[in-house]
């Protein structure tokens, strides 16, 4: 395979000049540049990235560690990839499926300089393990974590969930049921806190209805529709604040199949503003995942290049549609 010296010889210049042409350095005369470029084109030459990486101490490759590749993680990855590419970085994706080994691989690649930085969407190993690797390169995360060495693009769910609750209140709903996601996560804790503060503020009974936990699938939503239908008419809630759009979608469509009229029989608010909420005209809470991705990239760039570009302020937004 052709290397820079071969190009140099064929173009009758030194390899330094070829390098200048490749990297668009100034102070190359137009005739020389053309002559060199011609040889490059003719031989279909591209610089060997291993050599470039070795010399520069950078691979221009960033790893993304993700637990899976579902809707919102996928959106993040897509957004991040876009920003990264605009800045000349490539992305290598590591789907762990919960396997520690797969995550360690990525971390080791960082240590061994095959990766310049790492985005850890949802971790598998202990934070202490991940923190240990921050000395080899910047690592940012999507999860909520309070470790100085691991910056996060996490968003506090309290504000977002309050938005949903206040909206329901303003619309006249008073009998709200909460369907929370993962019990373990801090997001759920924040949402619970938001609900309690909300009840206190408006003097509502926080325990008037059961709370659901650990639910986020379409099927779970469908079951909740049945749960509602089977209750006494007088004892039915009039609104659901859901953990995800998917769950809300399941609830909504199954309820309609059962002849329930939304939003007059009850209201539904989703979370995430995914495509499905758009499709079903579902009121939801928008979540600037794209801006999160951009922030993650800015953080990495700042760390890598010693810059200090400012991070976007992130805010949830209510998207009012037909289910409330």
């Amino acid at each position: 395979m052709a290397n820079i010296h071969e190009i140099a010889k064929l173009a009758g210049v030194s390899s330094a000049t070829v390098s200048r042409v490749i990297n668009n350095h100034p102070y190359v005369s137009e005739p020389t540049r053309q002559r060199v470029q011609e040889v490059i084109d003719r031989l279909d030459y591209v610089p060997n990235l291993n050599a470039v990486s070795l010399k520069k101490g950078m691979t221009k490759l960033i790893g993304i560690i993700s637990l899976s590749f579902n809707d919102s993680l996928g959106l993040f990855v897509r957004g991040f990839t876009m920003y990264a590419q605009e800045h000349g970085f490539n992305i290598a994706l590591f789907i762990t499926n919960g396997e520690k080994g797969r995550e360690l691989e990525a971390l080791e690649m960082l240590r061994r300089k095959q990766l310049d930085a790492l985005v850890c969407m949802i971790r598998v190993n202990e934070w202490s393990v991940i923190e240990h690797y921050t000395k080899y390169g910047p690592i940012v995360t999507w999860q909520r974590v309070n470790i100085e060495a691991i910056p996060s693009v996490f968003m506090d769910q309290y504000q977002g969930y309050t938005l949903a609750l206040e909206h329901l209140y303003a619309r006249g709903y008073r009998k709200i049921v909460n369907v929370y996601g993962s019990m373990r996560g801090l997001n759920t804790k924040e949402r619970i806190r938001a609900y309690h503060d909300f009840c206190e503020k408006y003097d509502l009974d926080a325990e008037a209805f059961p709370h659901f936990y650990d639910l986020n699938s379409i099927e779970a939503g469908e079951q909740i529709a049945h749960w509602w239908a089977e209750r006494e008419q007088t004892d039915r809630p009039d609104a659901f604040a859901c953990s995800t759009d998917y769950l809300a979608a399941g609830l909504l469509t199954e309820a309609r199949r059962l002849g329930v009229s939304v939003p007059s029989d009850f209201a539904v608010v989703g979370f995430d503003n995914t495509e499905i909420s758009h499709l079903l005209d579902l009121t939801t809470i928008h979540y600037p995942i794209d801006k999160q991705a951009e922030n993650a990239f800015i953080m990495i760039c700042n760390a890598l290049e010693g810059l200090d570009e400012t991070i976007h302020h992130l805010e949830f937004k209510l998207v009012e549609r037909a289910t409330t």
Copy 2:
């Protein structure tokens, strides 16, 4: 960051000896080895992979290009990763989401020697584009394609589909409806061919019932359940051969919700033997995706190291469960 020379100096040996220790070469005396290892451990040293790659002309990194990351593609990726890791290779995943650019990136990384090889699960660019890149390193694919430079681990659907049809026949079903997947793909063509040959063999009317095309989701399956329920009793098919387990699952569960009894009212056969089919006790066609992944890896190894290990023979298998 520490490099091999620093280790050498601290251990009082030459860098060559350090290299020998790192790579487990023979002819290093035990005392020396221990002394060197000690310094390596103390300084938390690991060789810089860029330097190793440059020297060896290999990165030990294989790229996988995938359109998305759903169930069966995910299984393939997982299997492939396992085999690759056992042989000291790491994996970089590229999810294209149908974007040509993302695929080209991976191809360019191959060209520029950042990747040793590429597995192209489902391509985005024209085959001619991909073929062009085979001169930079081995590329194997999961799709059916007849290009010498691009080996494939594709499996002929004819045999698998015939398996399903013969099974239904043996069980006494005669009014079979086919639900095919993507119209564009060659898999569907093969399945259609299988069905026609099957009808001919048993003297059945291939056009007795409508054929469904381009369906593979759970929701599509649910709709087909309604389609069946709304037909005249006398004009109902007694079996469905489905494009995927997901579709079959949707059909099965919705049918049961409508009070249909499977397999006495009608039979259902899925395809792929995914977890969901196991869960629902669904008869399906097993598909050795793990062996395909291993084959893909063997092909790459053979190409990379000039070997000639033999490829596994791949065969569909009927998994008889409760829906037929």
